[in-house]
Amino acid sequence: MIFQFLTRRLFFSIVALFVLLILVFLMARLTGDPAYLYLPDTATEEMRAQFREVHGFNDPMLVQLGRYIWNALQLDFGMSMRRNIPAMEAVAVAFPWTLRLAGITVVLAMIVAMIVGPLAAYKPGSFFDRLASVLSLAAASMPDFWLAITAILVFAVSLGVLPTSGIGGPEYWIMPVGVLMFRITGTTTQVVRGSMISSLAAPYVKAAKAKGVPDKRILFVHALRNSVIAAVTVAGDQTRGLINGAVIVETVFGWPGIGKLMIDAISQRDFAVLQASVLATAAAIFLLNIILDLIYTFLDPRIEVQ
């Protein structure tokens, strides 16, 4: 069953990737003519025509698309016009940085949410619950850009305990992960809390209490397990966003991830890098979706893959 599920999902993912590739190819070319970016403003129209000729932009769109698909099938995703390296090489350098940042952020956010959410739900309306709700709501609402700059001003410039930006040892990860964690932790905590309140009102919890099961076990074993699915759904959604690249955080902290790479590729009309970035990101997201579905079946045996 699992094998059939995986085969089917992989097949449809590949089809979706193919369609996406075509869409991105066409939409990228709607953004404008790269000749106006890659040549100085003193260039003549003849020079621009030459540029288009050299890079194949003069060919009919279908010819360009066909050429691209044929090359892509041979794992040749073209050259970055700007960087003069294979486009997929640029992506291969940037993507792991985003994946690591996303992975660490989501794991830490889930841990915090799984602790704070149940504790807040344990006594709804209590001081802790209200504090947790206010903080998680505030965290979910804070704009990344403001948070990132403020963190640099406080921890790097004023206190001097963390580096301003860049990558390196563990100290370089603290602010980027912390900033990204804010919103995800806030959102996930709210979801876990809500789900836990529902779970704690369920008959099986009352039965467990009547049997004398300790509160801690009821909270973190029985009720939480049934609330995790909601948290995983939200976390999965947030992870998809992070895999696309936390552009603002990457920009502010000088993080060499794929978000900034993609934004730069769009503004620079570096079509090959843009297409390769979208392809890699989409493939990762499709894989994530498959993994999430498998996680659901693990968490709740009543859910079957079909």
Binding site: T42, T44, T251
Partner: protein
């Protein structure tokens, strides 16, 4: 102990190196692309050199990879190469290698910013004479070819013809040591450099898009120099202001009403309160400009008008034009480029307000760079509304030929005027040399101002850099396009 640990954690730079933080990572280090600021800041004057070099202070053309040059018969120049020069890969810089580098730059099949900017409009043939001379012959005589050659970087013979490269060996005082994509570029002193090399031992270039972060890095000692930061981030402890060679103009649509009427263009010049903008929207150390290049460029004329702020006269001119049937109420599109320069939004808003106050109908709209660039060059959209642009131009190459023809000669890529007399004057200036050349360019500038007045020239801008306490360095007008490690020393 705690302080030392904190410093270590904050990533303090190691002595004998300098760390420079740029706006963005260079796309590549191809010698053909160093005319692009983001590439030149790392490569120009560090990795790559040219046959000649222009002293930005005096304007004098000096020897570099060539020791002398002379004009010959038949539209040619012969350059004598410096002996004993090596590329960073150990290969010799001889006539064959230089010819290879020049042929590559001049090859039409290679996208090359340097060729497009400095070597278009003529045909070149490069020959070797022995192992130490290069002869360059042009189809049309070019009296300033040696000056133009200061913009043609000489990369090593390993570069492939017709193909862009990520990096290439140069002859400069610093060689590429490591390029960690997305993170940093490290240059180290080239032990076999042909000239004096007393600068720092190495330089690390990093990049951060956000100005406040670049400034913070310098404050915290994570970087020694940030060549471009916003004025609001330029706090007293780190800020250094410098003329950055950029001149702004309001580029008017001379082809479409109402700005095809000279009275309207004059009114626009009189409506702009440049003094009010200084110290508010534009740094107070910027200067009002009359021409699109600095006074230090030979050919700048002191006789070009500095237009005063006279809104009443401007209104009168608009009324006069309107009475003659000029449709002054036509909506004029002021197309701004997002993030073009610091306070660009306020700059455009001020311009729009001032022009609307005299009776024009200016609408401000924002575009990203590629879209705006396309609007500004030929072919112009025949269905457009009349357009205006605020553009910036930096001429550090030392001659008005790099500014005027493309903008105001009939066949110029941005030209919206067509004046045969002006075309002839420009052609004469291009073909002349020495004092005659300077005089002719002055006459061209005066003619443009007095007879045509196609645009409103506004400011010679200044930039702000952040300089850390470890280093001695004085930014100048070329800093935006070249940050030379040899100009740095440690205190």
């Amino acid at each position: 102990m705690a302080a030392a640990l904190t410093l270590l954690l904050a990533g303090t730079v190691i002595a004998q190196d300098v760390t420079i933080v740029l706006n963005e990572e260079p796309a590549n280090l191809d010698p053909c692309e160093v005319a692009s600021d983001f590439i030149g800041r790392v490569a120009l004057g560090n990795i790559f050199e040219a046959l000649t070099r222009r002293d930005v202070t005096t304007g004098e053309l000096l020897p570099a990879l060539s020791t002398s040059w002379e004009e010959g018969d038949g539209n040619s120049w012969t350059f004598t190469l410096r002996e004993g020069v090596k590329f960073h890969d150990g290969s010799a810089m001889d006539a064959v290698a230089v010819k290879h580098a020049m042929d590559r730059t001049l090859d039409d099949t290679l996208t090359c910013e340097s060729r497009t900017k400095f070597f278009s409009g003529n045909e070149f043939t490069v020959e070797t004479i022995g192992s130490d001379k290069i002869k360059v012959t042009t189809k049309v005589r070019d009296p300033i070819l040696p000056l133009k050659m200061s913009n043609m970087m000489i990369g090593g013979p390993s570069m492939t013809m017709g193909k862009a490269v990520r990096t290439a060996p140069g002859t400069g005082p610093y060689a590429l040591d490591k390029w960690e994509t997305g993170q940093y570029i490290n240059l180290v002193k080239f032990a076999d450099y042909w000239g004096p090399n007393d600068g720092v031992d190495s330089g690390k270039y990093v990049w951060r898009a956000e100005s406040s972060v670049r400034a913070a890095m310098v404050k915290q000692g994570e970087a020694d120099f940030a060549p471009s930061i916003a004025e609001q981030d330029a706090t007293e402890d780190i800020a250094v202001g410098y003329p950055n060679a950029e001149t702004t103009r309001l580029n008017l649509d001379d082809l479409m009403p109402p700005t095809n009427d000279k009275r309207v263009r004059l009114a626009i010049n009189l409506a702009l309160d440049r003094d009010a903008m200084l110290g508010t929207i534009v740094p107070s150390s910027a200067q009002k400009a009359t021409q699109l290049f600095l006074p230090s460029i030979a050919g700048w004329s002191e006789n070009v008008t500095m237009y005063p702020y006279d809104p009443e006269k401007a209104k009168a001119l608009i009324a006069e034009a309107k009475a003659d049937g000029v449709p002054v109420d036509t909506e004029i599109q002021l197309a701004g480029r997002i993030g073009h320069f610091p306070n660009v939004q306020e700059y455009h808003e001020a311009v729009a307000i001032m022009l609307n106050e005299i009776g024009l109908n200016v609408k401000l709209e924002w575009y990203e760079a590629a879209v705006k660039n396309k609007m500004q060059v030929k072919p112009f959209d025949p269905n457009r509304r009349p357009q205006m642009f605020v553009d910036q131009h930096d001429n550090t190459a030392g001659d008005p030929v790099f500014t005027i023809p493309s903008r105001w000669r009939s066949d110029g890529s941005q030209a919206k005027i067509s004046d045969p007399k002006l075309d002839a004057m420009i052609d004469e200036a291009i073909a002349s040399t020495g004092a005659e050349r300077i005089a002719k360019w002055k006459a061209v500038s005066e003619y443009i101002d007095q007879e045509i007045l196609p645009d409103a020239i506004m400011f010679h801008m200044v930039g702000f850099a952040a300089l850390g306490p470890r280093v001695n360095y004085k930014p100048n007008m070329t800093t935006n396009s070249s940050v030379k490690l040899s100009d740095f020393s440690l205190k």
